[in-house]
Amino acid sequence: MRLGGKEKREALNPWDIGFGAALLVFALWALFFWFPADIPTGFFFINSVGREEPGDAFFPIILASLLAGLSLIQMILSWRNRRSGDEAGVTGGITLSNLKFLALFLTVVGVGLGLMYWLGPVTVAVLNAAGLLDGTYRNFSDTVPYKYLGYVAGGSVMTLALIVWAEGRVRPVAVMIVIAVLVVAILLFDVALRNVLLPPNADF
């Protein structure tokens, strides 16, 4: 299985033409669906002195039209090269193996971020239910240890899981490095800099 999908093209390269097709579809979707629904002023608008001015859709429409045109040219070039038997040289692609890696990678990151976001609030809710605390996570988001719970747990799970995955083994030195990085991050972002918050405390 090829890594990174580099290959020499002999016929029509699906990634070459697919690149153009995907961006053409995106540009057309932006022009006919996204912009009309999501830009309050149009291509032009009348300003307070009654003069016609370019609206907020003016430049996005120009860019999206340019993108559509260029994508079409890219598709035609890919098709022409195939018909004339030209080789376009080394071109990249995304393999099933790449997608599997991405899915697993994003799962690990997702689990880490999920822990980071929920662990603090869930812990406070459980302690609330047990009658050991009184208040929401917002009340405790600047109190040790609650304010560090999610960051330390989520950060270490995510980082260690990726290291173990990459190395195929658990090394004590890797654990020590992750702990050291988390301590430095807390000292820097929470202790030294008073006007910023560690994840997830700014969201509560």
């Binding site: 860019l63 990678f105 995510m158 990726l162 990085v181 800099l193």
Partner: protein, 531 residues
């Protein structure tokens, strides 16, 4: 001429003295801190200068704020990193044959054989000496060329021409970087389009936000750029590490050390070689987007061609190390020529200089900076002066300060960093991911920055896998708001003429050149494969 010296003097004073006239150690300390950080980062596999600059910027902004006084300390640190990382890259290449960047590969050709011959410390001395020489030559060219170019540009360019010039630089970058110029230009336009999400010039509410309130001020700039540049690279690097899962056996410095002296007679002998490479690097660096790899390749190739003993190249020749290092280091200063004179970044390091300038204080880069307006003192009002020009000369002073520090203490620090090369990528990349996530969260004050970071990381990953250069995407993303201003302003100023870009002969030349460059570059790419 007197007015030029007056501005230069004020720029120098701006660095060393506070407004009250007291000596100011802070910018000097920041340059020093940045330089040491840069050398250490450059010597660490998996890390590079733009990464350190990207991560430092939000931290520096929190520490110093965004007022005018914060600009020089912040720029000092970033300039220090930029210069330090260029020099530091030689450590893993020379000592362990593990180049962190493509241009450092050429340093391994003679640098690592020198290590194997017991001359590792000498190879690092040669690399450091050549690198700092190249960098200094390049900076001197920047100081002369940027003001001259800026004055020329300011006198002939109006809104349509400036807009067309941005398009020209985008097509130039697409043509020289990556495997497909057309795809490069397309992703440049895509980057421009995505940069428009959120805020508007008219102030009529947010646009293109899908109703996400947090995007009302636009996509978080640092998160987006870090995503494409750093997280995309982390995805790729980790995937490759996971596939390998082979513990690398690194060579060590156990080899018996030979003669490692590098005295002035030998340095003088290398100077012509270094000079030629420095000029090659400077010329290439002044053209946006070409980068250090071509400079290093050309520098090495020219040195070998004109050598009396070309067959000895690759066997551990100091000339080989000197030619490569002088050429790739000379790129960094010259890369700031389009930044200072046009406000257009030519490489990733320049992107972060521009980000710093746009985030902090009221100084803006561009041709207007180099207006040598008459300095007048008016009673009860103050001094009328072009403050931007003073800041520009202060920036040049910071660069020279970094060079002096690099000359004096940089070499010793560089040679002490061999241990960093032993940090494996499998540990470094997840740690980089965690630090980046934390920094972005803290800067943007919520998970919105983290989502943008990951989404742009996926874009960076896809572009890399598809062999499309990410530089045009980043440059397009960064320059889009300015291009929108020029295009809308130009259209309004023309009285609503839809063909206003084609009414200016110079703008027509720029647009025609953009098309020509793309067409020629596309044809050129095919020739080697057809041959």
């Amino acid at each position: 001429m007197e007015i030029v010296f007056e501005y230069i003097l004020r720029g120098v004073m701006e660095v060393f003295f506070t407004a009250e006239g007291a000596f100011d150690w802070l910018p000097i300390a920041m340059v020093f801190g940045g330089l040491m950080t840069g050398i250490a980062i450059g010597a660490t596999p998996g890390l590079n200068g733009p990464f350190a600059m990207a991560l430092s910027l939000p931290i520096l902004i929190w520490i110093f704020g965004v007022n005018d006084e914060a600009l020089l300390p912040i720029l000092g640190f970033l300039i220090g990193i930029m210069k330090g990382a260029t020099v530091g890259g030689a450590v893993p290449a020379v000592l362990f044959n593990t180049p962190g960047t493509p241009d450092a590969y050429l340093t391994t050709l003679d640098g690592h054989p020198m290590t194997k011959n017991g001359q590792g410390p000498k190879a690092l001395k040669v690399a450091h000496f050549s690198s700092v020489c190249g960098d200094t030559v390049s900076d001197l060219v920047l100081f002369v060329a940027a003001p001259v170019l800026a004055v020329l540009i300011e006198s002939i360019l109006d809104l349509p021409e400036k807009g067309a010039l941005i398009i020209l630089s985008l097509s130039f970058m697409a043509a020289v970087a990556g495997s497909s110029p057309m795809k490069g230009f397309i992703v440049g336009v895509l980057g421009m389009l995505l940069a428009l999400v959120g805020s508007t010039l008219s102030g009529n509410g947010p646009r293109m936000t899908f109703g996400i309130v947090e995007l009302g001020n636009g996509l978080p700039l640092t998160a987006a750029i870090l995503g494409v540049l750093i997280i995309g690279e982390v995805f790729i690097g980790l995937e490759e590490e996971i596939r390998k899962k082979v513990r690398k056996v690194r060579s060590t410095l156990d080899t018996a050390l030979g003669d490692n002296t590098f005295g002035w007679p030998e340095r003088r002998k290398l100077l012509p070689r270094i000079g030629v490479s420095a000029l090659i690097g400077t010329a290439i660096g002044a053209l946006p987007g070409i980068g250090t790899t071509l400079a290093a390749t050309l520098g090495y190739d020219v040195a070998r061609r004109f050598s009396k003993t070309p067959e000895k190249f690759g066997t551990g020749l100091p000339e080989g190390v000197a030619a490569t290092e002088a050429a790739n280091s000379a790129v960094s200063g010259a890369n700031l020529i389009p930044v200072m004179s046009l406000g257009i970044p030519g490489n990733f390091a320049a992107v972060f200089i521009i980000l710093a300038v746009e985030s902090v204080g009221e100084f803006t880069l561009g041709p207007h900076v180099f207006r040598f307006t008459e300095i007048k003192f008016i009673e009860d009002y103050g001094t009328i002066i072009n403050d931007d020009l003073v800041i520009a000369f202060a920036m040049f002073t910071l660069m020279m300060l970094a060079n002096i520090m690099n000359w004096t203490v940089g070499g010793a620090f560089l040679r002490s960093l061999g241990v960093l090369v032993k940090v494996p990528k499998s540990v470094m990349l997840p740690v980089v991911l965690l630090i980046t996530l934390t920094a972005v969260y803290a800067q943007d004050g919520g998970f919105i920055g983290v989502w943008v970071l990951l989404i742009f990381g996926l874009i960076g990953y896809a572009l890399k896998r598809l062999d499309v250069s990410i530089l045009p995407f980043v440059i397009g993303f960064l320059l889009s708001p300015r291009l929108e201003e020029y295009i809308r302003g130009g259209y309004s100023a023309s009285g609503g003429d839809g063909l206003f870009l084609l009414k200016s002969p110079l703008a027509v030349v720029f647009i025609a050149a953009s098309i020509l460059i793309l067409v020629l570059a596309n044809r050129r790419r095919k020739i080697p494969e057809e041959a």
